[in-house]
């Protein structure tokens, strides 16, 4: 019998597809074929192996995303998968994951990581989309866009100023729920019923906080 490491790539891919199918059906499977295919694609930069991985795993991932994120249009799903796959390949080719089998002890772990890469791309996109949507809806957008490091410092300064203006920890917590998480009063109550009594309490405190912040010239300057 030919050792797995010496199998031609097309045969290896055939076995890997079979074993992956068993894995998906929760049957006993031998992950070594797939590990070797991943090893050739990632460590040896073997494009044939990379293409087979693409064919074996991306269709299932496509279906999974389509099922889980039903509001995302098909074209975008395709984009997210390709972007996720690109990140997966880049990460696993880094020295950090030199020994694939040591870092990912099971085939399930490798597949989970591939899925995670696609998931991260989607969630990152949704976070950015949320910021853009809010900005457009409210018309007001920051006047200056700084480089990311400066911008991060600027955000820290804004938050520090908010905390100076509302020194009470409960108020600060509520401000974070409102401005950082964009939670509605009902959601704030749902997640933090140990802190807030009812939505009325949240509404009144939120109105007071917004008034204090708007009246502060230093905070207004920081937003210019």
């Amino acid at each position: 019998m030919i050792p797995i490491s010496e199998l031609p790539t097309n045969e290896l891919a055939h076995h890997c597809a079979e074993e992956t199918d068993k894995f998906k059906r929760d049957h006993d499977n031998n992950p070594d074929f797939c590990f070797e295919l991943f090893r050739r694609a990632l460590a040896d930069h073997d494009d044939e192996a990379l293409s087979y991985i693409y064919h074996i795993y991306l269709p299932s991932l496509y279906k999974k995303i389509r099922y889980k994120f039903q509001t995302i249009i098909e074209e975008d799903i395709e984009h997210f998968i390709l972007h996720g796959f690109t990140k997966f390949v880049r990460e696993l080719r880094s020295p950090k994951y030199k020994n694939l089998k040591k870092n990912f002890k099971t085939l399930a772990a490798v597949i989970s990581y591939l899925k995670t890469c696609a998931f991260n791309v989607i969630k990152e996109h949704l976070r950015k989309k949320r910021v853009v949507t809010v900005s457009i809806e409210q018309i007001i957008v920051p006047k200056k866009i700084f480089d990311p490091i400066d911008w991060g410092i600027q955000l820290e300064q804004i938050w520090e100023r908010i905390c100076e203006l509302i020194p009470d920890e409960k108020d600060q917590f509520l401000a974070r729920c409102i401005f950082v998480e964009h939670l509605k009063p009902s959601e704030i109550l749902e997640f933090h019923s140990d802190i807030f009594r009812d939505t009325e309490e949240i509404r009144i405190a939120s109105q007071r906080i917004k008034r204090i912040l708007r009246k502060d010239p230093t905070l207004r300057d920081l937003l210019k």
């Binding site: 199918d21 998906k24 494009d47 293409s51 693409y54 991306l58 299932s60 496509y62 279906k63 999974k64 099922y67 098909e74 074209e75 975008d76 395709e78 984009h79 998968i81 390709l82 972007h83 796959f85 690109t86 390949v89 880049r90 080719r93 399930a108 989970s112 990581y113 899925k115 995670t116 998931f119 991260n120 791309v121 969630k123 990152e124 996109h125 976070r127 809010v134 900005s135 809806e137 409210q138 018309i139 007001i140 991060g152 955000l155 804004i158 938050w159 908010i162 917590f173 974070r176 729920c177 401005f179 950082v180 998480e181 964009h182 959601e187 109105q207 917004k210 912040l213 708007r214 937003l223």
Partner: protein, 239 residues
Amino acid sequence: MVTNHNQPLTDDEIAALLDGTAPEALRRRVENNVAYQEQLEDAQFAAQLGSILYRFDCPSTEQLSDYHLKMMDPVSMQNIVLHLDICASCRMEIEELVEFLDDADEFDTENVVIQPSPHYTLARIYVQSVQARGSGRKARGSFKTVTAKANGLHVVLTVSEDKVGVQLAGQLASMDGTVDWEAGIVELRLEGEDEPRVTTVDDVLQFRFQQVQTTAVDIRLISTEGNIVRIEKIKLTEN
């Protein structure tokens, strides 16, 4: 102007006033009421703050998933634990990831083919033109060069033929440097082949495919940041 001590504006009314869809009667009510105007200004200011501060102190999605997969150092793990204590949004994001990774749901073996789509709505880079720039002969065989230009990106494709067969090599040149194409994925679809071939862009922004056909070639380039360039229906041979 009168000050009205009636009920404050509701969230829906404020939203309608801010996005300009409020009915005339409501706008008039606000114009004639100092308290409502103050409330509206508070809401506008809060919206501005919210648009800037949204998730500003949250770990990135990658950090959250690394935490879930236990792929980070203990100190970073501890920082995430502390953050999760106060942040419902991050807790929900991790719950969604757990659910997404759960294999006990719809996963089956039905063959879903990823079809090429006419365009992308995200990070779109339009291919402006695809034009032949030259051709010639080499000692060991013929070659042809085709240049594709997209916004800020030039793709030079060289087809050469030798004893092994036809090879396609690509060289990327990012003109404005805004997109890093290194380690990006290149997907090649050939007429008559059901599945695409895949390779990666190397550190000198080159890629290569062996044994290709030369008619109706589609190429997609995907950067690690998610930018996509499509070059469609390129003919790599002289008619």
